[in-house]
């Protein structure tokens, strides 16, 4: 099925738009519009493409089961081409032109913070289905991915006793990297370790030569990567090329979210340890059943789902759909209230339930190691609540709150 790949560079003037190729089931009723905004091209497409595939799959599944409230679901996918300003264009379009019932999308925290205020302003429900740095406190926004208290908090106690106490962080230079590196610092200190240095890299940096020399000079026990996007994949290549792979072990809060394990050779990727709320390799009946259906539907084009992001998109859509069913309406406030009753989804990733205090989710977390173009799951931790955001955010008490809390860790 076709989706509009590059829906627009600058947005659409009325009347100039070519007819949209839309997906809807052959049901007569007025369709419900769902908008997805994920990068299908540019540096972030390594995450975006599997996310789009999962959203498509989830919508098809729902339509095959008769749609929602007896109405078909019409999905419009926009490709912001890894360009933040296109995110705002498409979010505006989704809210003011498409009158979407819900917008699923945003990959980087930068894109989330670009579209969140727009969807707030135009009163359009928003689902952000990505692991991120935590702290968003906004009743209109549901964050269905894992946050540092769920993933970093599992990662650090596993690697520090094994590898050592001195940590060196390399992170993407925007809010995700900045805030996540603070969480890493906090959990490293909680475990009796220390952070030697944090280096930030803009998303288009490809030459990590000097950075690798700097790391060698600092002689850490562990390197933790919070690097993001296609350009940053060169870090893992250059790290291996410099012969560092065998000398300093690495963990990551972002590695494997896309197709990194596929585009790198096993020699470059093996051994990197990560913690996420999903890995394609999870060995549960629910996951096997899902993958079977997914592959049957997508055929040979089925993307590798890697870790977290693609699956959270699938789960996020189903949480929303359950909310609509419970509310019996697509009215924004009714759906929000229904979701806040603590809706639960049992899916391929395990159990996910909405935490009404924060509009985040309680989910299962898994720890895994990159292994032969995939992951080997090492441990699992069921029912992990979003403790970080819960510390600062209480939407039940302050429903009108709308901000992102940032952890305060002295670096």
């Amino acid at each position: 099925m076709k989706i509009k790949r590059r829906a627009a560079l600058k947005g659409l003037m009325a009347g100039m738009a070519a007819p949209l190729v839309l997906r809807h089931a052959a049901l007569g009723a007025d369709p419900i519009t769902v908008v997805g905004i994920h990068d299908a091209s540019g540096g972030l497409d390594i995450y975006g493409k599997p996310m789009i595939a999962c959203l498509d799959f989830a919508v098809d599944e729902a339509n095959a089961a008769g749609g929602l409230l007896g109405r078909p679901i019409q999905l419009i996918n926009y490709d912001p081409q890894s360009n933040i300003q296109l995110y705002t264009q498409f979010a505006t379009q989704a809210a003011t032109k498409d009158h979407a019932a819900v917008v699923h999308g945003g990959i980087t925290s930068a894109s989330r913070e670009a579209i969140r205020p727009i969807l707030d302003r135009y009163r359009t429900l928003y689902f952000y289905n990505t692991q991120y740095e935590g702290g968003v406190c906004d009743r209109n926004t549901f964050c269905t991915g894992s946050t540092p208290a769920q993933n970093v908090q599992k990662l650090m106690p596993y690697i520090m006793p094994k590898w050592g106490k001195k940590v060196y962080i390399v992170a993407a230079d925007y809010n995700y990297g900045q805030i996540t590196s603070k969480w890493i610092t906090k959990y490293a200190r909680d475990g009796g370790g220390s952070v030697l240095a944090v280096d930030f890299f803009p998303l288009d940096v490809t030459d990590f030569g000097p950075a690798i020399q700097k790391i060698q000079q600092a002689k850490p026990d562990i390197v933790i990567s919070a690097l993001v996007g296609g350009a940053h994949v060169s870090f893992y290549r250059q790290w291996a090329a410099a012969g560092m792979k065998s000398r300093i072990p690495m963990a990551s809060t972002t590695f494997g979210g896309g197709n990194e394990t596929l585009i790198l050779s096993p020699e470059e990727a093996n051994g990197i340890v990560c913690a996420y709320s999903y890995f394609q390799e999870i060995d549960t009946p629910a996951n096997h059943a899902f993958l079977e259906k997914f592959h049957a539907k997508m055929g040979p084009n089925a993307p590798y789902l890697g870790a977290e992001l693609a699956m959270r998109t699938y789960v996020g859509f189903n949480l929303w759909a359950e909310g609509v069913r419970k509310a019996g309406s697509i009215d924004r406030m009714k759906v929000i209230e229904a979701l806040e009753t603590g809706i639960v989804n049992h899916g391929p990733a395990g159990t996910t339930s909405i935490d009404p205090k924060t509009n985040h989710v309680t989910l299962d977390v898994y720890l895994a190691e990159a292994q032969n173009r995939g992951f080997k799951v090492l441990q699992s931790f069921p029912d992990q609540p979003p403790l970080d955001t819960q510390m600062v955010c209480d939407l039940q008490k302050h429903p009108n709150e709308n901000k992102q809390y940032v952890v305060d860790v002295k670096m």
């Binding site: 230079d173 030569g209 090329a241």
Partner: protein, 290 residues
């Protein structure tokens, strides 16, 4: 400070300089000989990288793909572009810049349509080596050697071959050269193709580090442009001195601060240089160099 740190940092500086030199040389040849600023230079790098990665995927030896296929392919494309665009606008510097900028956008668009806006890449085809307690990529060492050979090769061609003599003559005085029976059209066509080929080779050489994506040229064109302009009229001495200076500032700046401020420092130095030496480094020094 331990000696091996000094060597390790020195190695990174050399590697930074070599990358800047390799990625600027094609532009410098075309600017030095023809007074044409080819703003599609970054896309020539990109095409070189794609030529290498595609022929390597087709089963060709990676070294042949990088060192032979990439320059030949991009040199050929350069020949066509010279005929279709550059020749029509000769002597109109600004128009040429605009037309090649259009070409740059069109090439990005065309390659995106064919291969998708997705980062491809291949790993550096050499292992690592140690400097004291530091290890570094052997491929970076190869890049440094490649830069030296490239620069020396172009210099030798200009200095010792008949074609080089004609090229130098045309560079000095195009009318006089044509009075002597040398067709400037042919000299320009060959120069542009040669400059393109060098750019194609450069693109293939940097591909293992930079990753291959249709928009990769943008990261290089501005730096190359600034390097060439800062270098001034003498193409080899200018590019060499400018990339030496700017590459050193950028790398040391990166060590001292962050990659971004390293680059900012380099650009700031370029502005100061242009203010002090409005004709570039070789407009003031080494005026008689190549």
């Amino acid at each position: 400070m331990a000696l091996d740190i000094v060597f390790a940092v020195g190695f990174q500086v050399l590697s930074g300089v070599a990358t800047l030199l390799i990625t600027s040389l094609g532009l410098a040849i075309i600017f030095g000989m023809m007074r044409v600023i080819n703003l599609a230079h970054g896309e020539f790098l990109m095409l070189g990288a794609y030529a290498a990665i595609l022929s390597a995927r087709a089963g060709l030896n990676i070294w042949i793909a990088m060192l032979v296929v990439a320059p030949l392919a991009v040199g050929g494309i350069g020949l066509i572009i010279e005929r279709l665009i550059i020749r029509q606008l000769y002597g109109r510097m600004v128009d040429t810049m605009l037309a090649t900028w259009g070409l740059s956008l069109a090439l990005i668009g065309a390659v995106t349509m064919i291969f998708g806006n997705t980062v491809a890449g291949f790993s550096a085809p050499l292992g690592s080596f140690a400097i004291g307690s530091f290890t570094a990529s052997a491929y970076a060492l190869f890049l440094i050697v490649a830069a030296v050979i490239l620069l020396g090769g172009v210099w030798a061609i200009l200095r010792f071959t008949p074609a080089g003599l004609i090229a130098r003559g045309t560079m000095q005085n195009a009318e006089m050269a044509s009075a002597l029976g040398v067709s400037p059209d042919r000299v320009y066509a060959v120069t542009f193709a040669a400059g393109s080929a060098v750019s194609g080779l450069a693109g293939a050489l940097i591909a293992p580090f930079s990753g291959v994506v249709p928009t990769m040229g943008a990261a290089f064109i501005a730096k190359s442009f600034i390097t060439v302009i800062t270098g001034g009229a003498a193409m080899l001495a200018g590019t060499f001195s400018a990339s030496g200076l700017l590459g050193t500032v950028a790398t040391l700046g990166t060590f001292a601060t962050t990659p971004v401020f390293g680059e900012v420092m380099m650009l700031a130095v370029a502005i100061v240089l242009l203010r002090l030496l409005p004709q570039g480094i070789t407009g003031r020094f080494f005026r008689r160099a190549l």
